[in-house]
Each structure stands twice: as C-alpha cells, then as structure tokens.
C-alpha cells in the first residue's frame, strides 16, 4: 500500500502542486481527472498528473477507495454556481452532512480542497496489518469495489 507522504515533506508538496496544476487546467471541462489539459478547459491533449507521478496516482486511488462512513463528497448547493464539501454517513437513510462552511464557486476547485483535507485525514497505516479489524473478513458495499 502506498503510504501517505507526511506533512511538511517535499514529497507531499510535490503532490499538492501537481494536483493544483491539473485542477486549474480542468476548469471548464464537463468532467474531471487529475490530469493536465495542455490547453486549459480542453481535453484534446492531456498529460501530467497521475501519468507522471505514480505516488500521486496511488495516493488518489487509496483516497478514492475509502469506505463511505465519513468519506468526503461534493454537494452542489446551487446549480452551476455553488458547491460545498460534505461527509457521507455510511448509514442508509442518513444523508451526508456539510463538513465545512466554505462555499466553492468552481466544481473543480473543490476537488483540490478535498484532496488537501484527505491528505491530513487519511490514516498512514490504512491497509496494513496495524489497521486490521473484524470488517476485513466481510465483503460488503463499503469495500472499494462494487
């Protein structure tokens, strides 16, 4: 499993900077990937991001595979205008709640904000024996597979 780079390390900053570049280049695209559009807002040619940084790629895969309980999600609060960060409950019938008070005016910008939050929140030992619990023996929707 890919460890999460520790706070304050150059490696972490490198991931943040690369993610930032990708997010900025994706503004205007009706979709999103952690890749850099050669022409901003145009997916004709993409590169960078997860293609050039295997650590960034693996860290993102780990973040994406987190279980639903407490997982960060984007909530659109005004169509095409406002987005906020939410947190999934992991319990059927209990809706997500807002995780912060911040209102984002770009659906791509909020991807970066969530990336930064996850870098701080994700357990360094996720997926290693130190994290073993009874849930590992039970397949359900909460595993990163459908």
């Amino acid at each position: 499993m890919e460890p999460i780079p520790k706070k304050g390390t150059p490696e972490r900053q490198r991931l943040i900077d690369e993610h930032r570049r990708c997010v900025d280049s994706m503004k205007g695209v009706a979709g999103f990937s952690v890749l850099e559009c050669r022409t901003p807002g145009d997916t004709t040619e993409v590169g960078g991001g997860i293609y050039i940084d295997p650590t960034l790629r693996r860290v993102l895969l780990r973040m994406r595979g987190e279980r639903p309980r407490g997982k960060l999600v984007v909530i659109c609060t005004k169509i095409e205008k406002e987005w906020r960060i939410g947190r999934l409950s992991g319990i059927r019938g209990v809706p997500p709640t807002f995780a912060t008070d911040e209102i984002y005016t770009s659906e791509q910008e909020i991807q970066h904000a969530i990336f930064l939050m996850r870098l701080d929140e994700l357990s360094e030992s996720y997926g290693f024996p130190e994290d073993f619990d009874e849930g590992w023996k039970r397949r359900d929707d909460n595993w990163p597979a459908t």
Binding site: G31, F32, R64, L88, V94, D141
Partner: protein
C-alpha cells in the same frame, strides 16, 4: 440548500393524442404550486452550451393548485384480510427465515422490530418478530417472549412458537439450519402466560405488522390497503409460513414443514395427516404463483395473501439443492420470498390534475409538467406524447430509452458504494436530488443500487417520483448530463436543425412490436439504451432487415435482459421492469446462485450476450470499455473513404479531430464506448469509419466480459480495445445502421450552436437515411464473401493508415 418540497410522477410515460394523463404531486410545505405543460428542449445548464430551454404549451390544466403532502409507504410485505380462522385461541406459528439485517444501526432509517408472521397491532393479537436487538420474539398482546439470542444474518433458521390457551404454555423455537463448531446451543424458550388473545380487526401480515388503522389520515391513503399503516418491514427471506390453531408438538411442527399438501382426498385431507389438517389456519406456498402478487395459501380456507411493493420471488428456499437453477423446473425449491424495507412498486398517490392531450396541435415530443412555487421550488414530471400506431407524423422517430431510465431511477451509488469514486476517478458531486433521496429511501433505489439491507435491487417501478429523469441534473458518473438530460442534447439538436420527428418509448416498441416502427424511415436511439426487452430487440431486428435505418447515438446498448412484470399490466404498460445481474457484465451487485431467472416472466436474466444475443448484432457495435473522468475524440480511418460510406463525411476533412469538444467530458468519445467485433456479432461487412483508439485515460477499463483472467494492461492508456469505433453497415432491402459508439457523443452535438463536425456527420447520415425507399445500392464490388475471424490482412483496404502511408493527425 433548497430541500425538495415538490415531487411528483404521472400515471404514464407515453400518452397518445386524445388520451388522458394524470399527475400526482407531493407539495410538502407550500400552500400552492403552479403547473404548466412544457416541451423539453434542452436540460443541460452547462454555461458552455445553450443552457436550459423549454417551451410552454397552451394547456387547459396550466394553473395554480393547492399543495398537499403525499408520502411513499415503501417496504414489501404480504397481508391477508382479517378472517375468522385467524382469530385463534391457541396457535402454532412457524416459518423459515433468512434475515439480511436482523440488527440495524440505531440511526438506520427503519431501526425497529421486524414482523415475520403476525396478526398483531398495538398490543393486541399474536405474532413472530425479530426484535430491535436482533433476537426472535413472540408477541401475545402486550407480552414479549424472546430467546435473547441474536439471529445470524444471511443464514437460514427455522423458527416457531406455540401457545396453548388452556394451560398458558408458551414455547419458542429458534433452530439454525447451519450450526458452526463454536455456536452455543439454542434451547427452546418455555414460559407460561395467563392470557387470552385479544384480536384486533387487522389483517394478518407477513414481513410486517399493522402499526395503526388510520382511515381518516390523508397520508395513509397511499398505503395498501388504504388507511392501514404497516410498520416493522422485514429485510430478508421467508419460506413456508404456517399458522395452526393448536399448540403443536415439536414432531407435529416438523410435519407441518411439509405444508398443507392438498389434492388427494383419499390420502391426507388437507394436511400432512388428517389430524394435522384440522388444525391448519393457513399454510402459504410461496413457490406457487411466482409471477404473481399473490402468496397462495394451500390450507383449507384459502387465505391468500396479497403482496405489496413487489418483493423478490423466484428466490432459493431453505431446501434449494443446487441442482436446479430455474424456478420453473423446481418451484418447491423456490418457496422463499425476499422482502426489503425500501421496495416500492407504486407510490399510490392521489391525482392532483389530469391533462387530456388534444387530438390536434400537440406534436410528438418530450414534455413535462413543470411545477413551481413562489418560493423557488421547482419540479418536472416528464412524459412523451406518442402517436398511435398508423398515425405517425414524421419519417424520423426517436426511441426514448425509458427502460434504461427506469433502471437508473433514483440511484444511490455515489453515497452507498465504497467503489463509486474509483470508477468516476474524482470525488462524486451530489445534486439536490441525490441529497433528497439519501434521506428518503422510501422513494426506492435503482437497479444499480443495493437495497438498504445490501441485497441487489432488480425491480424498478415508474409509478413513483423518479428524480433522476429530470432536466438540470448532472449525474455523478459524468459530472454532466446522463440518460434523460443527456438525450435532450439530441433533442436540442433536432429542434435546432429543424427536423420533424416523432418520439416513442421502450414501452411502446415492446408492446407494439414492428408495427410501432415500420412506418418510419429512420429510428434514432438515445445516448445509452442499455436496458432492453426481448420484444424490443426483435422489433429492431425485423425493422433493419426490412430496409429500416437505425442511428445508434450512443454506447453500451442492448446489454441487459429486461422483462415488464405482467402482474402490473392492469396499471398500464411497462409499469414495473425486472433485471437480474447474473454471471457477467458490468455489475454493481451480483445475483445469488440459483436466482438468475426472472420472477416476472421466468426468462433467464443477465446480459443478452449470454442469452446468445450479442450486443454487436443489433447495430454493428458493442460495448468494450467504460471510464467516467473525461472524454476524447475520434479520428477517421481508411474505412471512411470507402464509397459505401464516404458520403457521411462530406464537408469533413480526413484529418479533422472529430468531436474534440463537447458538454459531456469535453469530447465526443467518452464514458462508455462500443467497438466493432465481427466475432461478437458485428456483420463482417461493417465499416469502422472512425476510432478513438489510444486516447483514453487510465480510468477507462476493458469490460470484464471480454477477458477471463485478471490482468494489468486493460486501461485506456494500454489496451487496444479500449476505444470507440464509429461504424456503418448495410442491412437487407436498402436498410442500414450507423453507430456512433460513445455515450458522450450527443454531448458534442449542441457545441457552437450545433455548428461543428459531429453535427455535420450526424446531419449527413440522417439526411441520407430519411429519404423514402431503399438506400442507394452499394457498389457491386462490395458484394463479396467475408469471414468473421478470417480476413486478408494483406489487402490494402485492411492495412492500417500508417502502412498505407496516409498522414496521421498531429
């Protein structure tokens, strides 16, 4: 954020001129709302496109209506009307259970005791339950007797209870079918209760209990039966429930597992023995009438139970042997019904207004009842005006993929599945519809979801508000329109380009067959007609074989087997659709062994491919990969220069990037992609005129049905079959198919006010396909013998662009 205070649905998807359509509205809060009929033209709010567009229709029902709250009573159960035999003094209750959520989280949306078999309400009566702690519990009036033993989920247990009114003796049995080495022994619980059963005037219930009789409560009007509110909706299977009017011995209980065994007077009377037959109140056989909504009682009184909200039948029972996989051949091994607390087959709301569609003057188009309030609430109830067969008004028809809309109805994947973000490759965005549904599970889920107990959803009804069939709704998979709003990109293009067209739905073609389509020169599909009935595929085949022209505007079509449940035919066409996710295909859940055959029609579910009906045989291409981050574009191939098809590229230069723009993923090639494969049903003469090979991201992955061994190298950056192929082939009698092979494709049509090369390509094809009579014959030299696997790789027309020395786009 705005909560959704307005929700609604109509009794029909498809309505003919001169017919009536009813609208059902929940207005939870506002005193009144306005309704108007609008024609839907564009549903996408993306600022880089034309924006949301509708056109008001002068309809006599346009006006203001009083608001009222209406609720959905979800959760499946069975009920038998109150009858004298149920009013016992002593009893034996017994059944097999396979609970899926015996103990729920305290915050779970229906955290409560669950009813198994009960004639019990408000401390009157008797019944078997699973209590809040997940233990078997017998209720007699206000008394609760429990084993105190948590019931293992996802396992069969035999449970029974006896009560002898004369002695007050109570005995409660919990006998797991499988006992593991370290499981404690569960002894029967015995006690004595000095009590006479008080009988409430309530139905006997299976998988629920009666919470209250509320004949005057308007919110109880949408329960079934109206005015009776049920609670304690059970999650799991029940098999072979029995009620006897005597406290039976354990040996007699064992005999009663056999059920009532009616049929031969001279042998058994109506029970396993003559003596036992006299004690039977009801002995339901769920293996009988699997394709109905009746739970048949084989006991002497015929106390059949009505099933509500379409629980799953054709489910393996406690005695399934693993040798029969089709319930039709072994109904006795399919005596289980699987109940879920979020099943819904019909919201059963009261109608708020009804529109008689004028016979003249209302074109066949996409419409909606647009509901608004002064506070800014907004809701759309979509429907389609469809001409009667024989009264077509155009040469072009759009086939609206309503079965696919139903399959995706009210999906919850973004907030349920841990893996959702791995296929979108970004953090999902939830719209207000998703937020509302995450709290209102009673609106039911999609066939992509699992029930609240984790079991796959295989049933979807259109008689409920379906918040995903809405404009101004970006789907988390695409971060852009998907299905209904994405198909409006096509509608916007048809309107902008000035074409005259009719529309019809999957229901119409399923029920009307070839008659529905044979008078059109060309059919245009939606962007993602993934879910199809057999009669629909038959009709499309018959159409193209007889000279019809098909424009397949998307990808991942003709994939899943669907059946409309015949038990709902009385409520209209195509009310409830069923689809089981069987052994392969892209599946967000997988059916259990032995549960592949549909309860509604008995047909084998799963992919059409595994029924021997290859996707590629319908329009020349079939799904090969999917990915949901961003889209790319197509390049022409040498096939596009073939005079059989070169007319399609008039005005488009050979090296143009086809669709490197768009409102879905930023390009015409994206989301899900189809390719030509002559080994999987593409006719050998199919021309692959453009391809997006080599341009997709690593989020795009080869479909699992195309490989048998897990391996690296199956993503868009590495695998040659992760691509879309735009394809053309001729069909007999002057017919043809043009396949555009990408779900994102239609999202490029509106770009730059429809002035772009994708628009030009589609226009060239449509203009050629729409003409009367057979298409011009292909050049004589194109008629030749062609193999499937076998082809001449050295022939110039089969060489790559590079080998032919043709320039490649920079």
């Amino acid at each position: 954020m705005t909560s959704m205070r307005l929700t609604g649905y109509a009794d029909k998807f498809s309505v003919h001129p001169g017919d009536k359509i009813q609208f059902y509205v929940n207005c939870d809060g506002p005193a009144e709302y306005s309704a108007e009929i609008v024609q839907m033209i564009n549903g996408d709010t993306n600022p880089r496109g034309p924006g949301y567009i509708d056109a008001k229709i002068a309809a006599d029902i346009n006006g203001t209506y009083s608001g009222r709250k209406q609720v959905v009573h979800s959760g499946s159960y069975g009920y038998a009307q109150d009858a004298r035999p149920f009013r016992v003094e002593s009893f034996t209750l017994q059944c097999w259970i396979w609970p899926t959520a015996p103990k729920t989280h305290p915050q779970y949306w229906k955290h409560s005791a669950q009813g198994l078999i009960a004639k019990w309400s408000q401390d009157c009566g008797y019944g078997l339950f699973i209590n809040e702690d997940g233990c078997l519990e017998l209720r007699i009036n206000e008394h609760r007797i429990t084993t105190g033993v948590p019931i293992r989920d996802h396992a069969w247990h035999f449970v029974a209870a006896t009560f002898d009114a004369a002695t007050g003796a109570v005995k409660l049995y919990h006998e797991p079918q499988v006992v593991y080495a370290l499981d404690p022994v569960i002894d029967p619980v015995e006690t004595v209760l000095s009590v006479a059963i008080s009988h409430a005037p309530v139905p006997t219930t299976i998988a629920a209990y009666v919470e209250s009789l509320a004949p005057d409560d308007p919110l109880a009007a949408s329960s079934k039966p109206a005015g009776i509110v049920f609670a304690g909706k059970y999650n799991g299977k029940i098999d072979s429930p029995r009620i006897c009017n005597t406290a039976l011995s354990r040996q007699d209980i064992e005999s009663m597992k056999l059920g009532a065994q009616p049929g031969l007077t001279e042998r058994r009377n109506s029970g396993p023995s003559g003596r036992l037959s006299e004690t039977i109140v009801a002995a339901w056989n769920f293996g009988k009438g699997i394709d109905t909504l009746t739970a048949f009682d084989e006991g002497p009184y015929g106390l059949n139970a009505q099933l509500v909200n379409c629980p799953n039948r054709a489910m393996t029972g406690y005695n399934w042997s693993g040798t029969n996989f089709d319930w039709k051949h072994a109904p006795d091994e399919y005596g289980a019904i699987s109940f879920h607390d979020d099943d819904v087959d019909d919201a059963r709301w009261s109608a708020d207004f009804e529109w008689s569609v004028p016979i003249e003057g209302v074109k066949s188009r996409f419409y909606a009842a647009k509901l608004t309030t002064a506070d800014g609430d907004e809701e759309f109830i979509p429907f389609w005006v469809v001409p009667r067969v024989g009264e077509e008004t155009a040469k072009i028809a759009v086939m609206v993929p309503t079965i696919s809309y139903m399959a995706y109805a009210n999906e919850h994947v973004a907030c349920n599945a841990g893996g959702a973000e791995l296929f979108t490759y970004r953090v999902p965005i939830m719209q207000q519809q998703n937020m509302f549904l995450s709290e209102h599970r009673e609106y039911g889920g999609s066939i992509y979801d699992t029930h609240t107990d984790g079991t796959g959803i295989s049933i979807s009804s259109r008689l409920r508000p379906i918040l995903s069939i809405r404009p101004k709704y970006d789907h988390f998979l695409a971060q852009a329109p998907w299905q209904y709003p994405a198909d409006l990109h096509l509608i916007y293009w048809l309107e902008t380009m000035g074409y005259e067209y009719d529309v019809f739905t999957d229901e119409d073609i399923t029920y009307d067959g070839l008659a529905r389509i044979e008078n059109y020169n060309v059919l245009i599909t939606g962007s993602h007609p993934e879910h199809n009935s057999g009669p629909q595929l038959d009709a499309l085949h018959n159409y193209t074989q007889r000279g019809g022209r098909l424009m397949y505007m998307g990808a991942d079509a003709w994939y899943w087997v669907h059946s409309f449940h015949p038990a709902y035919d009385g409520a209209g066409r195509g009310v409830v659709t069923e689809m089981r996710r069987c052994e392969s295909g892209i599946r967000t859940w997988r059916a259990d062994p032995g549960e592949y055959y549909h309860q509604s029609t008995g047909e084998l579910g799963g992919m059409w491919r595994f029924r021997g009906r290859y996707l590629h045989s319908v329009a020349g291409v079939g799904m090969s990969s999917e990915g949901f981050d961003i889209s790319s574009y197509f390049s022409r191939t040498p096939d596009s220069l073939d005079p059989r098809v070169s007319w399609a590229f008039e005005g488009i230069s050979y090296d143009e990037k086809l669709g490197n723009f768009g409102l879905v993923g930023g390009g015409a090639a994206g989301l899900e992609l189809d390719i030509v494969d002559t080994m999987l049903g593409s006719p050998p003469h199919t021309l692959a005129v453009a391809t997006s090979a080599g341009r997709h991201t690593e989020a795009y992955l080869l479909v699992m049905e195309d490989f048998g061994f897990n391996q690296q190298g199956t993503d868009g950056t590495t695998h040659p079959r992760v691509r879309g192929d735009i394809a053309y082939h001729e069909t007999p009698n002057g017919g043809a198919c043009f396949a555009f092979s990408s779900i994102a494709f239609c999202g490029s049509l509106p770009w730059n006010n429809c002035d772009n090369n994708i628009s030009k390509l589609v226009k060239n094809v449509l203009d050629r396909f729409v003409v009367d009579g057979p298409l011009p014959a292909p050049p004589a030299g194109s008629v030749m013998h062609r193999g499937r696997a076998d082809y001449d790789a050295t022939a110039p027309e089969h060489r790559s662009r590079k080998e032919r020395g043709e320039p490649l786009p920079v």
